[in-house]
Symmetry: C2
Subunit: 260 residues, 2 copies
DNA sequence: ACGCCCTTGTGAAGGCATTCACAAAATCGA
DNA sequence: TCGATTTTGTGAATGCCTTCACAAGGGCGT
């Protein structure tokens, strides 16, 4: 199988330690996934004019516990001040740099149905270090139209566009039966990271990173928990709000889009 | 913090074992998340007329390794036949029943921007045991319009709609500044499970289950890996396709939407 | 009936991730 | 200058998930 789960950066694992001074060593996968959330929380604090924050309150804002937050941050280095907390601006920079968000990354978006258009219009892109550089669809009726300042291109030109714009990250929002084909072509054209919204498992060579967002799966997971809760409640009659034993769960999963 | 991570069903943990014969005990969270994926793979097999499948090939179709698959399935009970494999139809039923998908669940969708409309149009809903029973938006210009056979209702009527349709699961696809408010109202109206697409942490009482889908976070995670890869490649000149050491990662995350 | 072969189901081991709990900084006031 | 107070950073412990490896079980051919 392609799935590799090992540590993230074997970089400093064996011998040489040639690392950019700010860019630290091994960061656990789970931590990386949360950095993005911390970043959002920090942005919110900055907007409210807050310059310093303790692990406790940042953790609350991000919906995690403070020990985890501190351990996560400790992987980036030591950017807090004991007795005081973290400098919001500094920490923001550190996380951005760790995630590689300082160099506006070019992203291609393939598939412009409702979902694709929702993604194209997502304001969080630009503000978070990503720049949609290409919009691609298979429907010739759309090709040539302008959307958010970009001209929609036909999928036939996919390879050419990817190469000329030097795109390393692509978002697949095409129907399921077209997904693997689009994926293969993206990979052949040099794309190294793919975010897949089509409900299928994509086969990729081992140097390509795929993440998938699966709405049906999310709902089914909720359904499972809801099912359990329902079974539970049959015991006591109406008390929905007071179970709080098996009940709660704030499952922090992933990917997020602002509607409209 | 609200986040609880404990085992899923404390049900049979202590004393009594009063469980529906098909519905088995304790199922790990990680397993539940994958059941949905297996279900999709099984559906594909059934469509191709395949009646029996080995753990090895089902695992391949689902993008996991076979040991994990078998252990996952063992949590539902023993539905395979040694030397033969799993009966596709039977296993499908078992998973559906475990996830509670046999009773068409009513879902409310709040927010009908591009994303909301993409979700409303997602064919995978009905076919996977969910029925969108209410469409709600704050824009009075839309209210009264018909979308996919449902009339769009104003958010003022949220509580009434949730109660009259007996909705337990809601999908939030509203702008970030409206999300917490909508969430509070849903919870007050009795919703127990929420899928949140707004880029914010929702505060909910402990009996409510929230899952979130965060696109920006997904991209940022990809960015991180891409960044590492980039650093790596600087050593050898052009060989993009032959690293395959730190490189690959087929990160199976979650939620999925069919575009168009 | 019997034995061969295939595939499941599962103990046991190993690896990550989370949580706990506290010593090590750093500020502040006296 | 020093002690009180606050909050970070981190060893150690715990628990969950994954992976390994194989015994148990079931079909099938002879």
């Amino acid at each position: 199988m392609t799935a590799q789960r090992d540590r993230l950066n074997a970089v400093s694992d064996t011998a040489d330690q040639r690392v950019v001074p700010g860019t630290e060593r091994t960061i656990p996968e789970a931590t990386v996934a949360r950095l993005a959330i911390y970043l959002r929380a920090l942005t919110g604090l900055a907007e409210r004019g807050i310059g310093t924050v303790s692990s406790e309150s940042l953790a609350t804002a991000a919906g995690v516990n403070s020990a985890k937050l501190r351990k996560d941050l400790s992987h980036l280095g030591s950017y807090g001040v004991r007795g005081v907390g973290y400098d919001v601006a500094l920490l923001t920079d550190q996380i951005r740099s760790t995630l590689g968000l300082n160099e506006n990354r070019a992203v291609a978006l393939i598939g412009l149905g409702h979902l694709g258009q929702a993604l194209a219009g997502y304001a969080g892109f630009a503000s978070r270090g990503f720049r949609i550089s290409a919009l691609i669809d298979a429907d010739r009726a759309m090709v040539g139209d302008r959307l958010r300042g970009l001209i929609i291109q036909h999928v036939d030109a996919l390879e050419q566009v990817v190469r000329s714009e030097n795109i390393a990250i692509a978002v697949i929002a095409v129907p399921v039966n077209a997904a693997q084909d689009v994926c293969d072509r993206l990979v052949a054209a040099g794309v190294r990271s793919i975010l897949n919204f089509a409900p299928t498992v994509l086969n990729v060579p081992s140097h390509v990173d795929v993440r998938k967002v699966d709405l049906a799966a999310e709902l089914q997971i909720l359904s499972f928990h809801d099912n359990r809760k329902g079974a539970r409640q049959d015991f006591g009659p109406g008390s929905v709000a007071t179970v709080g034993e098996v009940g709660s769960r704030l499952t922090t999963t992933d990917s997020m889009v602002a509607a409209t």
